[in-house]
């Protein structure tokens, strides 16, 4: 699996927020087997708390995908991306331009505009978007080579609200890496995303807020592997009625 020509070791991308402690975070990252973790930028305090966290991130050995979480305008997102590129020394940016503070729904118009600006500047943009096909096309035209449709609102754990739309995205963008970002709550949600043909899953709260984050991280990784294998194995068609699986031919007659 490659994003922008870079091989990634796992189809699970893991967020680093909301864990009970840095030690639990490190344990969850390890047991997830992920090679890619998301981080943010926030105001530094004079005690240098950011430097300590940066050290924890480095020790995981994972590739960093910085986000623009919390940005509500194109300018905020672009400035944050510039700062992230310098700080993390990566062209990767998880681009979020948020439209509503209650639903955290992407502002897809601002998203396309910011994606174009950043792609032109050499960024490799991972846009957090809806499952709208036309928006997806515009993002690709803007220079994105990966799309990250939501499964459900960020942090909601509702699973996939609209599997049919994700299936349509898969059919419409056959060669484009698709990552379900946001809304995953349980391993079955992650497996379902993969069975629909998504290339990867990005999740955070489902692991961080589990009673045992490390165990849930491992469960998510297994679900993603199973879902991917299921997709690759080409599942049977659904039928409306029962069809006997045991041969009818040679059935004894006792009456």
């Amino acid at each position: 699996m490659q994003f922008y020509g870079t091989e990634i070791p796992s189809r699970l991308l893991l967020g680093t927020a909301q864990y009970p402690s840095p030690a639990v975070l490190a344990e969850a990252v390890k047991s997830s087997g992920t090679g890619t973790i998301t981080v943010s930028l926030r105001r530094e305090t004079a005690d240098g708390s950011g430097a300590g966290f940066w050290e924890t991130l480095r020790e995981t050995g994972c590739r960093i995908l910085p986000n623009t979480a919390g940005c509500h305008s194109v300018q905020e997102a672009v400035t944050t991306a510039h700062m992230a590129r310098e700080l993390f020394d990566t062209p990767w940016i998880k681009l979020e331009v948020i439209g509503h503070s209650d639903t955290l729904q992407p502002d897809v118009f601002g998203l396309v505009e910011a994606a174009r600006i950043l792609s032109d500047e050499g960024f490799q943009v991972f846009p957090y978007t809806t499952d709208d096909l036309v928006v997806g096309e515009r993002l690709l035209e803007a220079g994105c080579e990966v799309l990250m449709p939501w499964g459900a609102p960020i942090g909601s754990g509702q699973g996939l609200r609209n599997p049919d739309a994700l299936r349509a995205m898969r059919a419409h963008f056959p060669g484009v890496p698709l990552i379900v970002d946001a809304g995953i709550g349980r391993p079955s949600d992650a497996a379902m995303a993969m069975e629909l043909g998504m290339d990867a899953v990005l999740l955070n709260t489902a692991v961080a807020k589990a009673g045992d984050p490390a165990r849930m991280a491992a469960a998510m990784a297994q679900a993603i592997d199973a879902g991917r294998a299921g997709f690759a194995a080409d599942p049977m068609e659904r039928r409306d009625m029962a069809v006997p699986s045991t041969p009818v031919l040679g059935l004894a007659e006792f009456a």
């Binding site: 967020g15 930028l41 926030r42 004079a46 950011g50 430097a51 966290f53 700080l87 709260t205």
Partner: protein, 65 residues
């Protein structure tokens, strides 16, 4: 000179951004800066002069999803 750093007012004697960061106690290698909404690269901090009332954002790596 009074400027706003991460939404709090500060009175600084420094006139350029690099010296100001030192005066404010930030470890320059682990922060990124934006002045009045525009990113300022690490290599440009010495050349950037501050003005009264400037808004400076000093950001660092944090947990994120």
């Amino acid at each position: 000179m009074k400027i706003i750093v991460n939404a709090k007012p500060h009175d600084l004697s420094a006139t350029d951004l690099k010296t100001a960061l030192n005066e404010l106690g930030f470890a320059c290698s682990s922060v990124a800066t934006a002045l009045n909404g525009t990113f300022v690269a690490r290599s440009n901090r010495e050349q950037v002069q501050l003005s009264e009332g400037d808004h400076l954002e000093v950001l660092a790596p944090m947990q994120g999803g």
